[in-house]
Symmetry: C2
Subunit: 317 residues, 2 copies
């Protein structure tokens, strides 16, 4: 990491006892946690693709931490360390300070400590690798879903997609926009789901696309009640036709809620978790042995969703 920016960052870091050596050498030195697996994920956010040039730096910092923490949450992992690869067109310390405001506020809340990275010149881009710990054998993988499992989602869906399209008015529009720019990673929920959930994924690409990843990894199918997807009051108030609303909720992406599957006999445990965590948890379907993803409407009739989620290199279908 370069030396004109590194001191600004180092001055602001919280302590972790398992960091032997943090920023400022060729690499960080870190103490592993015995009896645990290391969980590691990487996400890249590029200007004009994942955020807009006029988004506040603080919101970009928040989102950069959030999307990575969300990957840890989806594995049931406890956050530990992050490395930050930052490309900037110039050494803009005001932008960096704003970015760090957002990044560190959210990281600190979850015990995630910045331990290394690289800053360099280039089109604005943020690449983060996060690390966490999960007890051996207790990780939530995409491949664990079993026929008969309930399919649950946390929070409400479609808000980020509606926010991206600047749907709604006044305070409701602002709220939807905040859901897009400042998602809430479900870290505590993910950890609490160890031993309850069979499979989990975070909803970054959209409900149907991400559920599709779980189905593929688990070699199962699913029936999803698309009209039973949890909906926020702000989303409810949007003026948009039903097809558009379904597309936002089922294929919109960027909500960073958790989708997980759990056996039917754990429903009470899941409902208790919702209360304990203060996060709505809603059943939206069921895992079936027959491969394929079967969206149905409130009447149980098959229905078609216009878009199938964010494909990073594909033309929209």
């Amino acid at each position: 990491m370069e030396f004109d920016l590194i001191d600004r960052i180092r001055a602001r870091l919280a302590r972790r006892d398992d960091v032997v050596l943090g920023l400022g050498d060729d690499a960080a030195l870190l103490r592993p946690k015995s009896g645990h697996w290391l969980v590691a994920a990487c996400d890249v956010l590029n200007e004009s693709i994942h955020f807009s040039a006029d988004d506040p730096a603080e919101a970009i910092g928040h989102k950069s931490a959030a999307v990575n923490l969300s990957d840890l949450a989806a594995m049931g992992a406890e956050p530990a360390w992050a490395l930050l690869g930052l490309s900037l067109p110039d050494a803009d310390s005001a932008w960096l300070d704003g970015f760090l405001d957002g990044f560190l506020a959210l990281s600190d809340r979850h015990g995630l400590r910045l331990v290394g990275g690289d800053t360099t010149r280039g089109p604005r881009s943020i690449s983060i690798t996060v690390h966490g710990w999960v007890p051996e054998g207790a990780a939530l993988c995409r491949s664990g879903a079993q026929a008969g499992d309930d399919i649950w989602v946390s929070g409400t869906l479609g808000d980020a997609a509606a926010g991206l399209q600047r749907a709604g008015e006044g305070a409701q529009a602002d709220w939807l926009r905040a859901r897009l720019q400042r998602p809430t990673p479900r870290v505590a929920l993910g950890m609490a789901l160890r031993g309850i959930a069979h499979a989990a994924i975070d909803l970054s690409d959209g409900l149907l696309a991400d559920l599709g990843h779980v189905l593929e990894a688990s070699a199962v199918g699913a029936r999803v009640e698309v009209d039973g997807v949890p909906t926020s009051a702000a989303f409810e108030a949007c003026k948009a036709d039903p097809g558009q609303r379904r597309a936002w909720q089922c294929a919109g992406g960027d909500d960073y809620e958790l989708l997980f599957t759990a056996p039917r006999d754990r429903r009470l445990d899941v409902e208790q978790l919702a209360t304990q965590q203060g996060v709505p948890l809603t059943r939206v379907g069921v895992i079936e042995a027959e491969p394929g993803l079967r969206p149905v409407d409130a009447a149980g009739q098959p229905c078609v969703i216009a878009a199938r989620g964010w494909q990073h290199f594909a033309e929209p279908t």
Copy 2:
């Protein structure tokens, strides 16, 4: 990591027994090594800054692995895992295949296994986080240099800078160019220096700049014989004035050789290492208690080097 590119990558990966779960979930699951510290580093390479748009994809892949392996080498770490954040303007599978040819050939040689990452659309940029292991307490840090230590460098210096300026002719020019595009990370040397070296750093920013980082971290000074810097035959044959040659060798950067300090009474061990490893190791100076970096010429007279190394956000001085 996105699903149209991930299968191309996954099909090509070597095995490691400590990878519980690699590519394809929200995060990788990895087994720590007991009695060891985790070593983690991150480097970003951007088009037009760190490589040129017409560099072969295979060379970019090689260099991306090399600069990260070099960070592990500088800590004395044994390579383990990498995560790759890749931004590409389009889903160019021919480019990706070439990149992977270079990246995986070098990674495989050093037991470095790709376990995760993210591919997304954006200006071409490569962000890699590498992990390795070092026995507890045995890492080579920048902060360990002591007054009286010899200062050693591996290999030859200035080749990459001369290659960048397209110095030399014919086969010699090609060789210099290859030193720039395809650096050799000194992984085995770094591991062998555990217990011998007091401090180490890799030469990415240039001899004087990187030695400066060691001096600052160790709160010591140094005297460096700039005319004693090891020189390749191809560099020797370049037509360039002495000031230019010194600048390339002392401030050029991008050589990815190791600089390390070791006590005087370990000279024989270092010389034996050079033979064992087949890498020239050359004494270029001595650590002194008095802070400051004092370059001297062959006659021991103070001399001035025109440039002081790569500063990522500064104008050239």
